[in-house]
């Protein structure tokens, strides 16, 4: 399929950037490549084609999630130069890894075969291990990389064992065959199958950072370079949820009773751990890591819905969460480079330094906390109502309580930037393209908050 091919070619071209001396144009090249891929991708809308001997199918679900991932990756690349500063010795290679990891994300949201799921997860994860350790001399970055790597590899083992057990039970890796088998055998318990499902569940819960498999998240998010953290928190999480929902709704929904309990408990623990621990975080990156854990808890609710509502809900939430966290992390980095602190007090008096930035901070925080008239509100609204439709009232109550706890810490940067005096009086200057991009993200947040119908149903 054209999207994967376009991304791969872009990746390879980027790779050659430093050895054939065109490193200067590699960011441009990546953007062009990603744009091309986005265009290709959107052409698949409503076509439902299957590729590579039924290894992948590009349905609307895949198109939607793929587009989200690619757009976010494009935003990230625009900011990449600023983030790494002069230390861009490996710029072409890094861009190449980023683009190729998006390839993995595309595979993860459009697979119809467990082999492709595995490959997609690994393409994404291995790229992430590299990206986490990008700052070679920085101990935090080192630690993040090894933690991510060891635990990621460990969880891959469980994912693989799960896939193998399912293969053992069903004699196939193909999702349609597996789902037929599950449908036929949903009345009696097949332990091989059930264990396989649960182990895959574990593997994917690790990837989406749900408790108790979330421990890597805060450390990795804090240690990794900020822009890479933004990438993990947005593209990584969204692609993982894309894969998660696809598998469990397509294949395992007939035996939902056997895994819904696990998801419920995990969702509750995840939400509470994420939100409560985030309250006391001084370091903003760490706070957002916990908040992303909490978001994973909310998104797990969508997996419980019995019908296609969940898919729409998770897509909308992904978009809302993705754009808001992207701008949040970008702003954190800007603040961090300017004031030299990772803590919320770095935002003090932001409104006097750069009004646009303060405004964007406020909008993205409001959206993340789910205040109405921002995209985040409807994200939560869709998620919660899909869970309510499926009868999980208590779960939704707890989720609502959690989203209110969340508001508390999301307001920290907003309060700092509007109601506190700044430590320094420097004005923060941004390149016009960066300002435009940030404003674009904020406008998207508001627009989706007013017209949630803009996101098409899938």
């Amino acid at each position: 399929m054209n999207v994967v091919i376009a991304l791969t070619i872009t990746g390879i071209l980027n790779l050659f950037g430093s050895i054939f001396s065109y490193r200067k144009i590699t960011p441009l090249l990546s953007i062009i490549g990603l744009t091309t891929a986005i265009v290709f991708n959107s052409m698949y809308w409503n076509t439902n084609q299957s590729f590579f001997n039924h290894m992948m199918v590009v349905d609307n679900y895949a198109v939607a999630f793929g587009t989200v991932c690619m757009v976010l990756a494009a935003c990230l690349i625009i900011f990449y130069n600023r983030f790494m500063g002069d230390n861009d010795h490996h710029l072409p290679e890094v861009l190449s890894v980023i683009v190729l990891s998006v390839d993995g994300a595309i595979v993860m949201v459009s697979y119809t075969n467990l082999l492709m799921l595995f490959l997609g997860v690994e393409i994404l994860s291995i790229s992430f291990y590299i990206l986490a350790g990008l700052k070679k001399k920085d101990l935090g970055s080192n630690e993040a990389a090894i933690k991510y790597f060891l635990m990621g590899a460990f969880s891959t083992g469980f994912l693989l064992l799960g896939i193998t057990l399912i293969y053992g039970a069903t004699a196939s890796f193909d999702l349609s065959v597996i789902s037929e088998y599950v449908k036929l055998n949903s009345t009696s318990t097949n332990y091989l199958l059930l264990s396989g499902v649960l182990l895959i569940l574990v593997g994917l819960l690790f990837k989406v950072a749900a408790a108790p498999f979330h421990f890597w998240t805060p450390d990795v998010y804090q240690g990794a370079p900020t822009i890479i953290t933004a990438f993990f928190a947005t593209v990584g999480k969204i692609a993982s949820f894309g894969a998660f929902y696809r598998l469990f709704q397509m294949c395992f929904s007939p035996i939902v009773n056997e895994w819904s309990g696990v998801i419920m408990v995990v969702a509750i623990i995840t939400m509470f751990i994420g939100n409560i621990t985030a309250l006391q975080q001084k370091n903003l990156k760490r706070m957002f890591a916990y908040s992303s854990i909490a978001h994973a808890g909310y998104m797990l609710l969508a997996l419980l819905s019995h019908d296609y509502l969940g898919g729409n809900a998770i897509l909308f939430y992904s978009i809302a969460y993705g754009i808001s966290s992207m701008s949040a992390f970008i702003i954190i980095h800007i603040i961090q480079t300017q004031t030299g602190t990772d803590e919320a007090m770095g935002f003090a008096g932001l409104v006097h330094k750069n009004k646009t930035l303060a405004m964007i901070t406020a909008i993205s925080m409001l959206s993340l906390s789910g205040i109405p008239l921002t995209a985040g509100f409807f994200g939560k609204f869709y998620l919660f109502s899909s869970a309510i439709e499926s009868g999980y009232v208590l779960l939704v109550c707890l989720a609502v309580i959690n989203s209110f706890i969340g508001i508390y810490y999301y307001f920290k940067p907003v309060i700092e930037s509007y109601f506190k005096d700044s430590i320094t009086d420097d004005v923060i200057k941004l390149k016009s393209v960066e300002t435009i991009l940030l404003i674009f993200l904020s406008i998207a947040t508001i627009l989706l908050g007013i017209f949630p119908g803009l996101v098409p149903a899938i």
């Binding site: 791969t8 790779l15 050659f16 050895i19 054939f20």
Partner: protein, 121 residues
Amino acid sequence: MNSTPIDFFPIVIQFFVAAGFVGITMFATHFIGPKLNTRKKLKPFESGVQSVGNARQPFAIKYFLTAILFVLFDVEVIFLYPYAVNFLELGMSGLITMLLFMGLLLCGLIYVIRSGALDWE
């Protein structure tokens, strides 16, 4: 091709022979030879070159890099096996697919060579 456990017996024998040979030679040399432990003798033997420092130290990164690259490219070869078994049935399209695959590997190789990872000096 009916095989019974007894058909695996030669393998078992071979295993024991192999293990026994290793064990016997190791123990035998220990007991047969005279023991004369001098300072020089206890030093690690490095082809006659004077040994320097602790042996448990990081090896040169060159070895590491080369070894890793070898492993990577070596493992990719396993994809040639299924193709080799079926190449007649797969025909032209199979050939093109395989060429593409090798082409991608070649891109990697070009990168490795041009970025100087294999330069010894």
